[in-house]
Symmetry: D2
Subunit: 332 residues, 4 copies
């Protein structure tokens, strides 16, 4: 098994995090190139990696002979074109979610990939590698709660990013649940509805929190709370209620403090401490598959298309007063 | 302050529990009479109370000169008539919920009470006296989570009683939430919708679990899961999500066990261990008010009417495919 | 069963708490008299109880014909004499711990009680009625952790009372553990040793925290941490490690808060919220036994003597550099 | 930074785990050689690593030009000699604890290392890299509990290995605490005492559980419970009690189950799931230091000598009826 040479496109928070993880914590990988439209930003990120080159041109990176595999962590709107380019170059690509902002654009990418005859695209639904979620999924599969009937998902953050909107709350945050729920209980989402009450006074430009109901093909119902401006911390919860019991994620804190009148467990301020292991294990699994020639165990472009179709249905419900909307995954 | 002489109508589980609590744990009360259509059952219950008499005729109990105050714990369908009789006799009455099976019947009782010019009826929404719920309510009022935006209520039991139906799941179980939510956040329920997915295979005669959405006047949304056949235990949860944080009930177990590969906390098998304190404190507060001539701090007949109107709206949604239904509280 | 007329001696925090609990929460009891050397203080406490009289003379209370039973909650140094007086008057007496400051004085009280031929004295080791401790004890007895091998007891408070000393930390606080441990595992304490390291800078006049090792007749070891100036809250813990697992008390908080970067459970500031149920149930059990003529289920004068003997042994160890000291219970 | 070529001596559980971790999860390392007296066992372990060679001769591995650095995971009695050989070969070596079974032998190794003028030996006290322990240590250093006064350490396993003895319980298990406590609170252990009560009926050949008291130079006291046959699971606990509060490790479970009358969190059956991250991060830190020429951040040979001296003092106490014994670290 030889070392996989990786090029990373995008040197923002996500890209920088991937470069650091690949370089410092993943076995069998070496980052050889970093691309960013802001070449200086690319250089800052690449600086920590001996021998890594930088470019402002993502396509140059994709085509570079010293790049065996590509990570796409640039702006959402660039994902589709870059993924297609990587596929055309015959290189494995790990694309951050979303694959594309709309189902129609996702279809184009999936078609391009099928055209090549292989599965070159992996999608960064990293929760599939989070140790807590994988243990939860294994427990469901082992029948620990019996057949699933209800799921309660909660996704809270400290504050929304500038420019947040109702739609971005769905396509950027809730979309993780749209991939996670079917993956956990092995049943696709067929019907959705969107709800909101009074918004927190700290939210600007969006209704927050939002409440989404999902109905999967097996008949299970899911409630999804997405609350970007929850204020108190980054807090991801999931409970699966089955015929014999329930399974849920625990609070991930490692240290408990008794002080000043209270026993307390800290909440992380953002996703990084919560999902550092998930990203590391996802990248390791991706590299291992490339090195050994095995199929990627990550989410696929098709998974990205499906999640995007669910998001579209939710936004349709949002625009129609919370009515139930059937999910329609476009034919490819 | 003299001792309050109480007559208890109904010697089933609930009535027997009240007799026992009044006799053994409430200060200032004495049970002088127990009524049940099955007089033998009444005798069994009264047996533990020195001097308590029995009767098969509830109206005889209400009119008995040795009865200062009446507890109604007989069949739901008898509540309204007996409450009216107690009111007409001028005696304080603690009526187990529901006040009556329909809002229309509740209206009749409330009218009768108003006619007397006083507040003689208290309604047994005992959660208002549960130490966990009262602490939760006080914390909300103190601003510990900021202004409430979302509530998540869960009400699970081991198995449904014989004869359970979709409607009884609402009027008998979810109705507790219909009283609790407005009491917690001080805002009335204005709109509801009812949802169900696949039912557990252990449920017969009803759809179970059910999921109910409530919208209160302040704009907050509430999700209510009612799952009568959850199997694993009796488990009541409530989380209030506000602008600055969340508040939730903890698991009530007092002992934690490490054994056989797991750390575990027991679940009670039914409501009795969970709400024993709530019933005791409710009865004590009722007796104290009677003895001192103060107004009853318990839920009122009006509260019972309002909860019944919410239940009716939920059942309407149930019969109309889960559509949103406005709550209409009848004029009295 | 007729009402038990109770006289309470001592109108400090503890006595006031007992008067309030007897009056408001205990069935079958009426407080008829309150005694305190500060008669005004007695009057303030008695004020809430219609018909209760006051006196500055505890012996007058003991001998009053309207007093069926006596609670002693006056200064520790008065307990022995007053208990003896109550016994001589032939009245049941609930004496707050300690029975007396020294084993020798305890012996005198026990002798006097035996002389009367009955068991008139109950001792206020209220943990025996705390729902968490009684559940823990029942679980041990049911074999839930197997045969006990080790116990870890922790007793922490916010700050020590003025005048606290090394010895008072043992006789006033640790003494609860000296009664609790044998009661939990049904084995008497035979050997002890006392240890202390660096004291907290907030302690004045005593070494704090202290660490005490106990060895019971069954061979089990117990560690007791007593930390009066723990600062953060009132926190009582107990874990029993057995051959098949462990059993421990849980944190008693009823509400969990997510706010300001942390999930937290409150600690009480003192013993009152923590042991309110224990005191109530202890008083109820005492009154029930008196009313029915059954033997008192509370701790006995002998239990007080034994706990006092353990405390004496611990103080001997304290004065001898932490050496092991055998517990010697004086013959009565 | 070039790839570090590692040779691993010992292909038992520990060695196999290290080979797997280095190969699959550590960036910048390649396992080039595996040694075991049972060459077949070495081959089985090496099989998963393309290109790795095997030998029955550990000294051949140490001297091999394709080995840049050595991991020693063979039998405890071989550690000292092999560490010395690696030092003499001028190669960085990660030696599993203990450095040697006695302080005297540790002294020999430390002398040899000093003789070379460098710090080539790292010692496998992996808890120093466990995310929970490092977070605990950082919180102490940040003053989250104030100045430490007491520590309570618990180390429980399912069942002891064949051949376990009282002494091995100290040198093999408790020794982790002897390194952890001074590392956590930055104060050396000066005095110890050993205690045991009745042993569990499932223990053969040793007294189990054991209780050890430690006194550190700062005056803090530590209680250490070591219970190899606790039966219920592998459970490591640590609480630090300081002047302003306490800090403790949480239960590490990621999923909570509600089923069959209980809420439960699983316990691992052994150390592997509990400390997998610690071993991975320890190996990564070791490799990073070697690759960059930085000093190893792992525990040193001196740390191993100190822990061994503490263990010796504990065993002296064990043989002297639990008396207090001063720790004497031999001069090097």
């Amino acid at each position: 098994m030889s070392t996989v040479r990786v090029g990373v496109i995008g040197a923002g928070n996500m890209g920088a995090d991937h470069v650091n993880t690949l370089h410092r914590h993943v076995s069998g990988a070496v980052v050889t190139m970093v691309a960013d439209i802001d070449e200086e930003r690319a250089a800052t990120v690449a600086d920590a990696v001996p021998g890594a080159r930088v470019t402002a041109a993502p396509h140059a990176l994709i085509d570079d002979p010293a790049v065996d595999a590509v990570v796409i962590a640039s702006h959402d709107t660039t994902h589709a074109d870059l993924a297609v380019a990587a596929v055309q170059a015959g290189k494995p690509v790990l694309c951050e979610k979303p694959l594309a902002p709309t189902p129609a654009e996702c279809v184009r990418v999936v078609r391009e990939e099928r055209h090549t005859g292989g599965r070159l695209i992996s999608l960064g639904f990293m929760r599939r590698f989070d140790p807590a979620y994988t243990e939860l999924r294994a427990a469901i599969a082992a029948g620990a709660c019996g057949s699933p009937l209800l799921l309660h998902c909660v996704s809270r953050g400290v504050s929304s990013a500038p420019g947040a909107t109702d739609e971005l709350s769905v396509t950027g945050s809730a979309v993780h649940e749209f991939d996670t729920v079917p993956w956990l209980i092995d049943s696709r989402i067929e019907e959705v509805s969107w709800h909101a009450g009074r918004s927190t006074s700290t939210a600007t430009g969006l209704r927050d929190p939002q409440l989404i109901l999902l109905r999967t093909a097996d008949g299970a119902l899911t409630t999804v709370e997405v609350f970007l401006n929850a204020g108190y911390g980054y807090d991801i919860r999931c409970e699966v209620v089955g015929e014999r019991g329930t399974l849920a994620l625990t609070h991930p804190a490692r240290v408990v403090t008794d002080a000043a009148g209270a026993r307390s467990l800290g909440h992380p301020a953002d996703w990084r401490p919560r999902f550092a292991d998930a990203y590391r294990l996802e990248l390791q699994a991706w590299i291992d598959a490339i090195a050994s020639g095995a199929p990627s165990p990550l989410a696929t472009a098709d998974d990205g298309l499906v999640a995007s179709a669910v998001a579209e249905a939710v936004i349709t419900s949002m625009k129609n007063g919370g009515s139930s909307v059937a999910v329609r995954v476009p034919e490819v």
